[in-house]
Symmetry: C2
Subunit: 356 residues, 2 copies
């Protein structure tokens, strides 16, 4: 049991996991406070994380259950957020099944042999629970520590994972990815089916081990038009979310630059639609009003004076009342240079903001 | 007179500059074909450009009137597009007035002394026509060569230019820029006023020398929310567009990730609103229907099979008929690895596509 766990934790003796504000909001039930967590809350913005990671490569830390456990718990202890997010990376399941890749500091994921042909796709193994025993162990350890604070499982969505596999690394324009999508639909279909299976399997392992919700990150889905999303992306994200949903946990679905994709990103099977900061929350709620929403403070607002940041947070909480459910978050991941004390103040402000 | 100039050129003996399809569409008048040009049509995708640039730094080429002239004309000759865009860079006017900066290959603009204080802002000189005689000379040379093909003048909008000045270079999250915007409104105001004056002056010089339209690039405006755009960005872009408009030329205004900003980006004083590829053109027209629109083929579609690319182009031209005026373009700049032959096919397809 984590001593500094958030207001949902049993340490206060009143709340069970199922009654946590995070899960209630995700299900669209009434809450006594707006639950809050932060994308990338575990990681580079925390000095205790940087200390743990000294001399340890990123993906090695994700494959080590004890490190993964500790890193996942660090922000819960520090901030008392309403949920933990499993510390991992969207390319981690690929690494675990043997794809030759690495995360280069300052660059991002780099794939040794970019995927361009049906043979390249066929060479990627499937993921089974046996491929990732370290994930099962890590999740079991984490949920044992968290008590009544929910753990959110984590996977990358097929489009975003495909973009790394096809480009060979991060990209500004997704030229090769789209060349494959538009020019070799059979390879695209095979690749997206393959990744969907891997992402779904990765989530199922986390749910089986105790994760009580999942978030599917389609960070770069906003690079395609709504019509292309419908044809080339949505069917495969739906496969992943369907398999996670069959296990009964709420599913959050998030991408950036997604203003005009929100409805579709909900319709593929999300209980909660993540909203980036550039999309006004009330506008987003108008798009996906029958689902809960998550978001969406500009991550750069932590660099503003505290009172400016909190004013904006208040406006977002107020807007969120019109949603079926609202989970407070940033509109993208925590920026590495963020001052943890600002996130602590923000967490406390959101959790104590009166809802009636 | 350029031998291979587009269908608007007097070489066909029927069209004057004022009657060019580009200017007519920009003014919302009927056209016999949809005019087309490409953002970044001059530059890295052209072998004749790469040859000219051998051993010449980017900003040096922008400061050399003969090189600027030749580079601006190259894509007009090769593609026969309906307009030339002045070859320059959004930081060029800063360089011309003495700000210590450079464009590093593979990185982008790098500023020696990032701007963070009122004193930093005060140290930036104003731009007068005397600061940029090479721009006047280049534009005069270009319009003499272009004949009845219009030249589009070019400037960066205050927010985008400010982001480079404050960050010191390209940024993913604009953390320092927004910290200044939210935390030091007096510095922000002074900086945006300063840049607005420089950008407006830079456009006025180009118009005085013969540019018959201008495009204001606010490439990164989509990083802010609509509310922040209104407060921190719009007033300064309006200053620039007002000064250009006072000289009687059509004004195009463009940014990426701008789906929910289009109405505002029109309202600050655009005759033509540039639309990025992720925003369906019919949706954009619904936002800014009383203005002309420009766009918006996904720049990655040049890597698709030609027939796929042309099918998408046809759909965009069809959608554009509902606009007050439509100028065909990509939804962002030409990707450097683009095959010029694809852009040539695209140009010919757009210009010959029947409008009745």
């Amino acid at each position: 049991m984590c001593e500094h766990a958030g207001p949902g934790a049993t340490i206060r003796g009143v709340t069970t996991l199922a009654d946590s504000a995070f899960l209630k909001a995700a299900r669209g039930e009434a809450v006594s406070h707006t639950p809050v967590w932060f994308m990338r809350q575990a990681g580079r913005s925390l000095p205790e994380y940087l200390k743990l990671r000294e001399g340890v490569a990123m993906l090695d830390s994700c494959l080590d259950p004890d490190l993964t456990t500790e890193i996942t718990l660090q922000p819960v202890r520090r901030y008392g957020v309403d949920a933990a997010i499993f510390y991992s990376d969207i390319v981690l399941p690929l690494k675990a099944i043997g794809v030759d890749l690495d995360i280069k500091p300052g660059v991002g994921p780099v794939i040794a042999q970019p995927v361009r042909t049906l043979a390249d796709v066929a060479a990627i193994p499937d993921l089974t629970p046996d491929s990732v025993p370290m994930i099962t162990q890590a999740v079991e350890q984490i949920v044992a520590e968290l008590g009544s604070t929910p753990l959110i499982g984590f996977a990358g969505a097929p489009f975003t994972v495909a973009s790394y596999l096809v480009e060979g690394g991060p990209s500004k324009d997704y030229a090769r990815t789209k060349a494959l999508m538009f020019g070799a639909p059979d390879v695209w279909e095979a690749l997206m089916q393959k990744i969907a299976g891997i992402s779904a399997g990765f989530l199922e392992v986390q749910i089986a081990a105790g994760a009580s919700a999942v978030q599917l990150f389609d960070s770069w889905a906003g690079a395609v038009t709504p019509a292309d999303y419908e044809q080339y992306v949505a069917p495969y994200s739906a496969l992943v979310l369907d398999r996670a949903g069959a296990l009964g946990v709420p599913r959050i679905h998030f991408g950036v630059n997604s203003s005009l994709l929100l409805r579709q990103m909900g319709d593929v099977g999300a209980d909660v639609v993540g909203v980036d900061w550039r999309t006004p929350l009330d506008w987003a709620i108008g798009q996906v009003g029958h689902r809960a929403v998550q978001g969406n403070l500009d991550p750069a607002l932590v660099f503003a004076p505290t009172e400016v940041m909190l004013d904006r947070a208040a406006a977002i909480i107020d807007a969120g009342r019109m949603a079926k459910g609202h989970i407070f978050n940033l509109g993208h991941g925590v920026i590495p240079s963020t001052d943890p004390d600002q996130l602590k103040r923000l967490t406390e402000f959101v959790q104590s903001y009166p809802l009636d």
